[in-house]
């Protein structure tokens, strides 16, 4: 174990170095570029034995990842925003082929207008492609999540993305604890693919044309694998905690057990909210926070159980779904609570699009709002100018 100062990008690249995958195919894009640059320097300096493919686009990055993973290799990439969007076409092919490819994804607003800063629109638009999605609050979690994503993905045979928030995590340095190279090697283990393409003695055909008579049946294993992922995510999070002292679940409850009002947030915003919660608690307000870590698979039952006793909950979405009924996190949590006999008042705040800053004051105002939640509109746009 080492205690070092790293940015989120450096932390993710370090996890990739320690995993030492067979193939990395990647294309640079702000703010994930550094992950690719740092990894390329590992290759240049002989610190990894990875075959690195400096592709000409993210579409080719994900296409090459599919080829490499199908061939039987352990495969990773990194991207952001438009880069992830360029991969969208291939993402559901990766999950349908049950290929445990890992993306270090740095959340950045989708164009347009073009913007390079954080929101979650890129990752949220990829939510229905059969990929496991795990969000990180800081560089430490980014590092831990990349390692865990790999293990989870290979166990359930689904691809996974570990995400950080662009610039806020990706470019900010903080103290992190890393594992020794040997510990990582032991934790992730040797990869043995089930049906590698390169088995020339028993040739198999992958990616067949599947029409009305079979397509539906072949989507069901992805559904089942995602259910299985819920168990495996908890097992791996527990193992990580037992071995290295940092346990992970679907979410983190922060002063939530006796709370009356709470915020649900993804990523770096949760860190800011913790400061506000502590401050409010000092003032006698029963405020809490639920930091959601796993968005796919969605831990609906677990969230419902934890949120049910609260009076009012603000769901914070760093992207809009344009369905006119709130952001993706809000609508999924609303759906998760729908069958409860007694449920809290839910309010949606769409905030921070294109990297608009979210500070202590804004979060504090949400807790103030929650005291009279029944007077609030269901969907609110926080901090947007008229």
């Amino acid at each position: 174990m080492a205690i070092i100062a790293r940015t989120g990008n450096e932390a993710m690249a370090e996890a990739m170095r320690q995993i030492n995958p067979d193939v990395v195919a990647a294309y640079p894009i702000t703010p994930a570029t550094e992950v690719v640059m740092i990894f390329a320097s590992f290759v240049a300096d002989g610190l990894v034995s990875t075959e690195y493919i400096p592709v000409e686009s993210e579409h080719s990055a994900m296409s090459a990842c599919v080829g490499a993973s199908a061939a039987g290799g352990r495969v990773m990439t990194a991207t952001s925003s438009q880069g992830l969007a360029l991969m969208y076409e291939i993402l559901p092919i990766a999950s349908a082929l049950r290929l445990p490819i890992i993306i270090s994804e740095v959340n950045r607003a989708l164009s347009g207008p073009i913007n390079i800063h954080c929101d979650h629109s890129d990752t949220m638009a990829a939510r229905d492609f059969g990929w496991i999605q795990i969000f990180s609050e800081d560089a430490q979690e980014a590092y831990d999540n990349v390692l865990q994503c790999l293990k989870i993905a290979e166990k359930v045979k689904l691809p996974a993305m570990a995400t950080t928030d662009g610039f806020i995590i990706s470019h900010c340095m903080s103290k992190i604890e890393t594992l020794e190279d040997d510990e990582v090697k032991k934790f992730v283990g040797e990869y043995s693919p089930t049906l590698p393409l390169l088995d020339i003695k028993e040739p198999k055909t992958f990616g067949l044309l599947d029409l009305q008579d079979y397509y539906f049946e072949h989507k069901m294993p992805v559904v089942e694998a995602m259910k299985e992922a819920k168990k495996v995510i908890l097992e791996v999070g527990k193992e990580f905690g037992e071995k290295y002292g940092r346990e992970y679940g679907f979410f983190e409850k922060y002063r939530l057990d006796d709370a009356e009002v709470a915020i649900v947030a993804l990523g770096s915003t949760a860190g800011t909210a913790k400061v506000v919660v502590d401050d409010l608690r000092d003032k006698g307000v029963k405020a809490g926070l639920l930091k959601l870590r796993v968005f796919r698979p969605f831990p609906a039952e677990e969230l419902a159980e934890v949120l049910a006793p609260l009076k009012a909950v603000a769901i914070m979405d760093r992207s809009d779904s344009y369905n006119t009924q709130g952001g993706p996190l809000y609508t999924e949590i609303r759906s998760a609570l729908f069958d409860l006999a007694k449920k809290p008042k839910l309010i949606n705040y769409i905030y921070g699009l294109g990297g608009r800053d979210i500070g202590l004051e804004e979060i504090n105002s949400i807790y103030t709002d929650l005291a009279s939640a029944e007077k609030l509109a269901a969907v609110n746009y926080l901090g947007v100018r008229e």
């Binding site: 034995s49 000409e56 296409s63 061939a71 290799g73 390169l198 020339i200 072949h218």
Partner: protein, 308 residues
């Protein structure tokens, strides 16, 4: 080259029973290219005729490992396969020598997959990319591509009352690939008595690095001719110099076939219904235009190949 007799004894790597049209040229391209390999083969195919007709679940006609990913990314996908192969070979997890081949139609190669192809060729992976060029998107019902012949009828640039089919001549993809300065680029066709395609595929497999073969492939459905005329039309494409046969090895251009007597383009065109409208006297000038362009490109190629 192995004799035809020897080749006939080799195991069929693409079995019969697939759903390609009677007289399909694409499956001939795939079989001949694979026959030329003296090592095990791994195939990646772009979405297209060859892929859909041979892999309808639960059936597969492939006796070799086969991967289909999407339409525009066969080259990128195969580059990933070869990278994993290199990594696993270094670790001793794989010991076999393997030839890697991608097949894409002209849609997946000239058009939507051009960037992916260019990237893979520039990066220098050890693979062979084969374009089976039938001059349109045949799989989805004969839509035009940038490989479609001038004045050919397609469903997205049809011959109508005022417009006689495609406006433009096909782009020179083989030349574009040669401009990548890769070790081997070849242009071939099926139906040549000298086994041009098998010879070129053999040569390509013997070279380390990125290789590209552009194979002209008559399509009885989209070109509308009798199924038994596929090979004859291939030969006519070479004999009219509409599709000259040549290769570029380490930057050196060389003709691999020179017709004894160069035939008029109409010998090739008028066997096909896609050019039917050009038989009208008022369209004679288009035939002349095509003949002139074919002559110009042929003379240019001869110069490049030092044949004059």
């Amino acid at each position: 080259m192995a004799t035809l007799k020897d080749l006939s004894k080799k195991k069929e790597l693409l079995t019969g029973g697939h759903r390609a049209c009677a007289g399909c040229g694409a499956t001939i391209v795939a079989r001949q290219v694979m026959l030329a390999s003296d090592k095990p083969i791994v195939v990646v195919a772009a979405t297209g005729c060859l892929e859909v007709t041979t892999t309808i679940f639960p059936y597969s006609a492939w006796n070799v490992p086969f991967l289909h990913n999407a339409f525009e990314n066969a080259a990128a996908t195969l580059s990933g396969v070869t990278a994993a192969y290199e990594a696993l070979k270094k670790k001793g997890k794989i010991k076999d020598d393997i030839n890697f081949v991608a097949f894409g139609g002209d849609g997946g190669t000239y058009d939507i997959g051009l960037q992916s192809l260019s990237g893979a060729m520039e990066r220098g992976h050890n693979l062979l990319y084969v374009c089976y060029n039938n001059q349109a998107y045949m799989n989805t019902g004969v839509q035009r591509s940038s490989a479609t012949a001038r004045a050919a009828h397609t469903t997205t640039e049809p011959a109508g009352k005022v417009k006689p089919g495609k406006d433009r001549f096909p782009k020179d993809l083989t030349g574009i690939m040669a401009a990548h300065n890769i070790p081997y680029v070849g242009q071939s066709v099926i139906g040549m008595v000298n086994n041009d395609l098998i010879k070129k595929a053999e040569k390509a497999f013997s070279i380390n690095g990125p290789k590209f073969l552009n194979v002209f492939q008559p399509c009885r459905l989209g070109w509308a001719y009798k199924p038994e005329e596929t090979l004859e039309l291939g030969r006519l494409a070479a004999d009219t110099c509409i599709w000259p046969l040549y290769e570029v090895v380490d930057g050196v251009w060389k003709l691999t076939y020179k017709p004894r007597e160069k035939k008029p383009v109409t010998d090739f065109m008028f066997k096909q219904e896609r050019f039917r409208h050009l038989k009208k006297p008022e369209n004679k000038h288009i035939i002349d235009e095509i003949q002139n362009e074919v002559d110009r490109r042929w003379e240019e190629l001869r110069k490049r190949c030092g044949d004059m």
